[in-house]
Amino acid sequence: MNQIQTNNIAKSYGQTEVLRQISLSINSGEFVAVLGPSGCGKTTLLRCLAGFERLDSGKIDIGGQTVSGPKRHLLPENRGIGVVFQNYALWPHMSVTQNVAYGLKISGVPKKERKARVAHVLDLVELGPQANRRPSDLSGGQRQRVALARCLAMESRVVLLDEPLANLDVHLRGALEEEFAAFHARTGATMFYITHDQSEALALADRVAVMDRGRILQFDKPEALFRRPSTETVAGFIGEGRVLEAEDIRPLGGGFASAIVLGQPVKLRCNLDQDARAHAKISFHPGDLHMIADAAPDGICANVTRATYRGAYLRANVMAGPSGAVPLSVDIAAPASLTSGQQVKLALNDGWVIPTTHPTCNHI
């Protein structure tokens, strides 16, 4: 009903290719987050979906209807899409009520019904008392909620959000994150949420699309991104991931493989169709490394270069490996003390063999 389908869409500004062959398939009612470094084309993708930009090639279907494509471009005002802008784009000369009511007025909703609906959504976002204020007299969080209410009132089935929390302080972010989740649960709308804060993306979204330089690197569930990244870039980008070279990969069946990492044999997860290879890249996170007893027969030798107190745990930066030249980070449970220069032994409990690069994304 409200699914979004993009087919190989491309967009350039002059010589710069901003979007390259993006294909995404978003289910009706799904909450999708788009994550990526600054300038990778997230906003441009959103503007293409909303209809503010014309495509160079490819097509976009929303709800089964082609809205952008060769020789076809449905104007934004006819797409029935809601957008929450990064800076909210509240009309400064209108009161909160007028801002929320404007779309209803344009679509010809009778005055009485309009009033009722506006009052209702303002109640929902708890802005009833501020209804007659101008946007300039509201706090950042309240403005955010007006922008949400404007979307709610239109009952858009597809809502696009461009870094809606970027301008807010940390405390407010937590509260509003919950509000987005509630918004989604309440409306069942398809949500397309741009952010470059990965904890936000991982916490909110059903699926996350990781973008880099105009391409989608991986589009998957948060847990899959974390545990089974499909490229080195994704592996390095999500959750302080670390990528290392491993040797002698032998599949053990059932999605496991043995390998040699930093001179030590380890058991890793891998794709079911992983083949035996002499070399491969593997990824893991700081939490996958553990300190073991110095007397243990094997284990990765490492030298502590710096230990930082992080509250619940101690973050140790170490130089590891046979030649002591590979920097790693290890988390150690809190009541522990490490000093710089100390020798430790580490074991890698878990890791993921990054699949051999697909032809589609090897030249990014």
Partner: protein, 594 residues
């Protein structure tokens, strides 16, 4: 379901969710008929028609008439006309006057901008107001005021007994006089441009220069001037365009002083030969257009060489003038005394005496000139009323057009937007007199449906004003758009509003201050306009702007002075009144506000 939505207590209560879900859902695509590009296409079409009929078509007609006569394209005729002794002399004079005046304006405007923006000069706002004032007074009034400055009625010089001995040729009736007045008149244009550059100059750059041991002089010469270079040249280009096309000063001083320029040549040929010499006039107008565009392009190109782009919005520091404060501020105010008070007081003095050449004292003082100008002189009253309604109509039409045009120029790409941008910039560069000639040519022939030509009627003047002032109306509005968040428009678009609804409900209210400023600017400029209307006025349709020249030519200097004074008063009232709009206006849209 996502963990956060499940775990967190849903903020707004689940009982309301059901209520919400029972509400009728917005029908996704079927609610509104698909209009395609309907509204926006119509708007673009209307704009192209407006600009096409009022700017492009007359100018194309002018170019055609200049090159092709009834006998077809005749190169010999063109060489003949352009090679004539009078034309050559006028061309050389025009170039020389425009270039020299531009130099004066550039130096003057730059120094004034440095003084106002970088130092802690006191009473700066008042000084800036005084500095901008001449630019808002019609040039023919300024010229008239200067002519009166050496008359016995001039309070400043008259008291000193420094008036011109009778029979002696007026020193300003000369090439030097024209250059001086044009240079002073256009200084404010350079000032505005340089000031805009200075406001973008970060304080840290100047502080870094001082930290490296540079004094004020070195910092100004080595750091500030190179960084505002593009602003200086942009201002110089404007000053050049304005000087070469300034009919008021060139005619008031050049005709009695026998210094022919291209503009006065066109004017005098129309007066002596009527419309029979239109092809030759068109050719001269084309020559003037080529000189204008050439000079402007050259200056703009020079400004781009080695352009340093600085992008910050910090305000530059105020250099304390210290012990130099008194002398520098003294010189600054002395400038106003000499170049503003001297001519204006002389203008008022002349307006207050019964006959030209009398000094102002208790025996000669009279308000008869003012009462004549205001109440008894029918020609003046009719001209003023004509000017008033033509100006008001122009404002009423141009403002909506400029808002729509600004929308397209700011937020739309594509070849139509490109065409509109080019056309509006061209109209800005060309001197009004060229528009005047173009309008005569365009409207001389009987119109298809009306059956008579419009030449000689007030309608041509109205059309010329629309064509001439579109670019002026556009400038503050473009400034307003630059400060407007595009998301506001896009959000309304998503709410389903079409282009006209958005212009009315979102853009216009947000732009209101810039629109006000634009209306004031156009009104002030058009009400006293002379450059285009001087060619288009006839016995049937007079405007107030050229009236001064006609009165002066007819020997009614005192009446002309009274009309000039009334214009100055009107300008002052409008300027001061607009300041009351105060801080609601975006930065820099009212030139006279500091």
């Amino acid at each position: 379901m996502k963990p956060s939505a499940k775990n967190s207590q849903i903020l707004l209560g689940s009982n309301r969710v059901t209520v919400y879900n029972n509400m009728p859902k917005r029908l996704f695509w079927t609610l509104r008929p698909e209009l395609g590009l309907g509204g926006e296409r119509a708007l673009l079409l209307a704009l192209v028609l407006f600009v096409g009929v009022l700017s492009i078509a007359p100018l194309a007609r002018l170019a055609y008439a200049a090159l092709v006569t009834n006998d077809g394209f005749d190169l010999d005729r063109i060489v003949d006309v352009l090679g004539g002794r009078r034309v050559l002399e006028a061309t050389v004079n025009t170039i020389w006057i425009a270039v020299s005046a531009t130099l004066i304006s550039t130096v003057l405007g730059t120094i004034a901008a440095l003084l106002c923006n970088l130092t802690d000069m006191r009473k700066r706002s008042l000084w800036v107001f005084g500095f901008m004032l001449p630019l808002m007074i019609p040039p023919q009034v300024i010229a008239l005021a200067w002519v009166q400055a050496f008359s016995p009625a001039s309070p400043l010089l008259g008291i000193l007994g420094w008036s011109l001995p009778p029979g002696m040729r007026h020193p300003l009736y000369s090439m030097g006089g024209i250059i001086l007045l044009l240079g002073l008149y256009n200084g404010p244009l350079v000032f505005l441009s340089v000031r805009a550059s200075l406001q973008r100059l970060p304080a840290s750059m100047i502080e870094a220069a001082h930290a490296n041991g540079a004094g004020h002089r070195a910092a100004t010469l080595d750091i500030i001037l190179p960084l505002i270079r593009s602003g200086i040249f942009a201002g110089a280009a404007l000053a050049f365009v304005s000087a070469i096309g300034n009919f008021g000063i060139q005619a008031m001083l050049g005709i009695p002083g026998r210094v022919p320029t291209l503009i006065t040549l066109i004017y005098r040929r129309l007066n002596s030969y009527g419309t029979s010499a239109l092809n030759d006039m068109a050719l001269l107008a084309l020559l003037l257009a080529v000189l204008t565009v050439g000079g402007m392009t050259l200056t703009a190109w020079l400004g781009r060489q080695g352009d340093q782009r600085v992008e910050t919005a910090q305000r530059p520091p105020r250099i304390a003038l210290g012990r130099w404060g008194l002398p520098i501020v003294g010189i600054a105010w002395l400038y106003h005394l000499i170049f503003l008070m001297l001519p204006l007081s002389a203008l008022f003095g002349t307006a207050l005496v019964r006959g030209y050449g009398q000094p102002v004292n208790f025996e000669t003082i009279t308000f008869q000139n003012f009462s004549n100008a205001l109440f008894y002189h029918e020609g003046i009253r009719d001209a003023f009323l004509t000017s008033l309604w033509v100006t008001l109509t122009t404002v009423a039409v141009l403002i909506p057009v400029a808002v729509a045009l600004g929308y397209v120029l700011t937020w739309r790409q594509g070849c139509i937007a490109q065409f509109l941008r080019m056309a509006s910039e061209m109209a800005y560069a060309l001197p009004g007199i060229i528009i005047g000639v173009a309008m005569i040519l365009f409207f001389l022939r009987p119109l298809p449906f009306i059956g008579t030509g419009l030449y000689g009627t007030v309608w041509v003047i109205l059309a010329a004003y629309m064509s001439n002032f579109l670019a002026l109306a556009l400038r503050p509005i473009l400034g307003g758009y630059a400060q407007l968040d595009r998301g506001l428009d896009e959000a309304a678009q998503l709410a389903g509003a079409g282009i006209f609804a958005r212009l009315r409900d979102i853009v216009l209210p947000s732009l209101a201050p810039a629109v006000m400023a634009s209306a004031i600017l156009v009104f002030m400029t058009a009400i006293n306009e002379i450059q285009t209307s001087v060619l288009l006025v006839s016995s049937r349709a007079q405007t107030i702007g050229p009236m001064i020249i006609f009165l002066e030519e007819a020997g009614s200097s005192t009446l002309a002075a009274a009309v000039g004074c009334l214009m100055v008063v009107m300008v002052l009232v409008l300027m001061s009144g607009s300041l009351l709009l105060g801080n609601r206006l975006p930065e820099g849209v009212l030139p006279w506000r500091d």
